[in-house]
């Protein structure tokens, strides 16, 4: 039973869907970050698989940069989260409504 690119892409799609569902249903900011990590990982799998089946290293390069971005995002995001928590004592998304029009 041959594992083809399609298998990986289907897996990637499933993980991406899980991530998106998480993004949409989570109210806790920390949990939201987790969901975004899942999104990034789903794309990483797709990049690596395509890289492998096409025989091109560019896919892996992109995956590297995505990991770098994810790391930066976590650093800044968590910093902001801590500031917000110190100010309000909550990290609930529904309470962040200072952008209400």
């Amino acid at each position: 039973m041959e594992i083809t690119l399609t298998h990986y892409l289907v897996l990637s799609t499933i993980l991406f869907a899980i991530g998106l569902i998480g993004v949409m249903r989570r109210k806790n900011l920390l949990m939201l970050f987790f969901a975004t990590e899942i999104l990034l990982n789903a794309t990483n799998i797709a990049f690596a698989a395509i890289s492998y089946y096409i025989g091109d290293l560019s896919g892996q390069m992109f995956a590297f940069f995505i990991i770098a971005i994810a790391a930066s995002e976590v650093a800044i995001g968590l910093g902001l989260l801590i500031v917000w928590y110190k100010r309000t004592g909550k990290i609930d998304l529904d309470q962040m409504n200072s952008m209400r029009g």
């Binding site: 041959e2 990982n41 789903a42 790391a71 995002e73 976590v74 650093a75 500031v83």
Partner: protein
């Protein structure tokens, strides 16, 4: 055969772990499941021959990112159940799946139709780490350096944001408040 078994096994494990991450109401379960999911993902990278990427995945994600999250969680009350608003969960599921399918379809369409030429082909007889290094430090040198700077900026940003005095927002305060704050806090800051 071995490859297939490995793929299906890890695929199932990853999906289960990430589902737990998204669905659980316990923050601790979520972070643990995610750390596990990250490690399982690295297995795919090894299967796909991207050894270096797999190693990075384990070190950066499971090591650094998850550690950061774990530290972050110490600030928050993690024992409490995470309350989620559950309005129309169907819509969320349908939308999520739809969007995922479409995004993948649109990006994969050109690849499937086989009209892409390999720019940096994987060379025979060269280890993955070596090949990655070659490409990374030649063709992708500038993005690499930029990524390094970005990480540095993110690090400093994280430190400053999470550091002291940050319970006050300078941008949200009036001019006078800032000046009075400076007076009262200056000696303290000097003390450090």
């Amino acid at each position: 055969m071995f490859e297939a078994i490995a793929f299906y096994l890890f695929a199932a494990l990853t999906i289960v772990m990430f589902t737990i991450t998204v669905m659980t109401s316990q923050a601790l379960y979520a972070i643990t499941a995610m750390a596990a999911g990250m490690i399982f993902i690295s297995a795919f990278f090894f299967i796909l021959g991207a050894d270096f990427l797999g190693a990075i995945q384990i070190i950066v994600y499971t090591g650094a990112v998850m550690a950061l999250y774990a530290f972050g969680m110490m600030f928050f009350d993690t024992t409490r159940d995470v309350v989620e608003k559950r309005t129309n969960p169907q819509i969320v599921f349908v939308l999520g799946i739809l969007a995922a399918v479409m995004v993948v379809a649109i990006f994969v369409a050109p690849i499937v139709s086989n009209n892409i030429q390999a720019l940096y082909p994987i060379q025979e007889g060269v280890g993955n780490s070596q090949a990655v290094g070659m490409v990374l430090f030649t063709k992708y040198l500038v993005p690499f350096e930029l990524a390094a700077v970005m990480l540095l900026v993110a690090m400093i940003g994280g430190i400053i944001l999470a550091g002291k005095k940050m319970d006050k927002s300078l941008t949200l305060m009036a001019e006078e408040e800032i000046t009075t704050m400076d007076d009262s806090f200056e000696p303290q800051a000097g003390g450090h």
